[in-house]
Symmetry: C2
Subunit: 140 residues, 2 copies
DNA sequence: AACCTTATCTGCATCAAATGCTAATTAGCA
DNA sequence: TGCTAATTAGCATTTGATGCAGATAAGGTT
């Protein structure tokens, strides 16, 4: 995702308006690697701007996703997560704490069963236990 | 997933009862490679056994999944899909028709970012266009 | 700086998938 | 055949997400 300043220009160019609510979300999302949900973003936004509507958060996230500034990912946690990192990467979900980590695949897998299917996108979700959680168990 | 006959034994052994509703679902799921949703299974079941409850379908699917007889997959269609094929495989979803195809990965991908994460499971979802849909477009 | 058009915000209603709950029923063992 | 615990059906509830409309405000124009 581009910087708040660049997004301000991009939104105006696209005929969209830049409101205080959106600026706040731009800032909250920029360099955010926590893969937040709409709800967690709303909580964070509320502490800075009380009264901001969850509906507005959803709306802005949808806009950003449509502009390709962020990607929405589904990792089985029940709710969509949003990732401002739009580079080609995948995700690892900890079964203990639920945290989502980025994974970069450097060499594509070899597969069978896709002869008659033209792939435009692939997403891998890994599940397991993250380092922090395995350390936690070890000290118990 | 095992055959309806084997499942009958397995359910009784586990202290679960084998009802007509469950037997029907066993049959509908056996060798079913359509990756149905709970709702589509309920529709199919209703045409054979009018009055069967959607709640019962969910219940039986949950039981089967817990027994490892089928796996539930999430491919971004909004609802869970159930797959009686529990072998190690992945899925390709057609963006046009929504059909889900099986994909077998014969060689694992090489990756970066999982140094401190112990992977217990990985699932790849491919998106694109299936053969039938690309043929459809070609003839238009 | 005032104005005007149009996008946006908020709050509420709605929707869909899935699960919780309970009285009536039924499987299946003794 | 009878008994007991599991199951069913149907409805209520929950949760994530979207639809809707009046009030508001962004931001280009004059």
């Amino acid at each position: 995702m581009r910087s708040p300043e660049e997004l301000t220009v991009a939104f105006r160019t696209a005929g969209l308006k830049v409101t205080p609510q959106r600026q706040l979300l731009f800032r909250l999302l920029h360099d955010n690697s926590s893969h937040p949900t709409a709800d967690s973003l709303h909580s964070a936004a509320t502490s800075v701007m009380p009264g901001i509507s969850l509906r507005t958060v959803y709306q802005t996230l949808t806009d950003l996703a449509q502009m390709g500034e962020l990607q929405s990912i589904e990792v089985g946690s029940g709710s969509l997560r949003f990732d401002p990192n739009v580079s080609d990467h995948h995700h690892a979900v900890c079964d203990d704490c639920g945290d989502v980590h980025d994974v970069y695949v450097t060499k594509a897998p070899v597969l069978r069963g896709l002869d008659d299917f033209s792939v435009s996108d692939a997403h891998i979700v890994y599940r397991g236990q993250c380092g922090a959680c395995s350390a936690l168990v070890a000290t118990k």
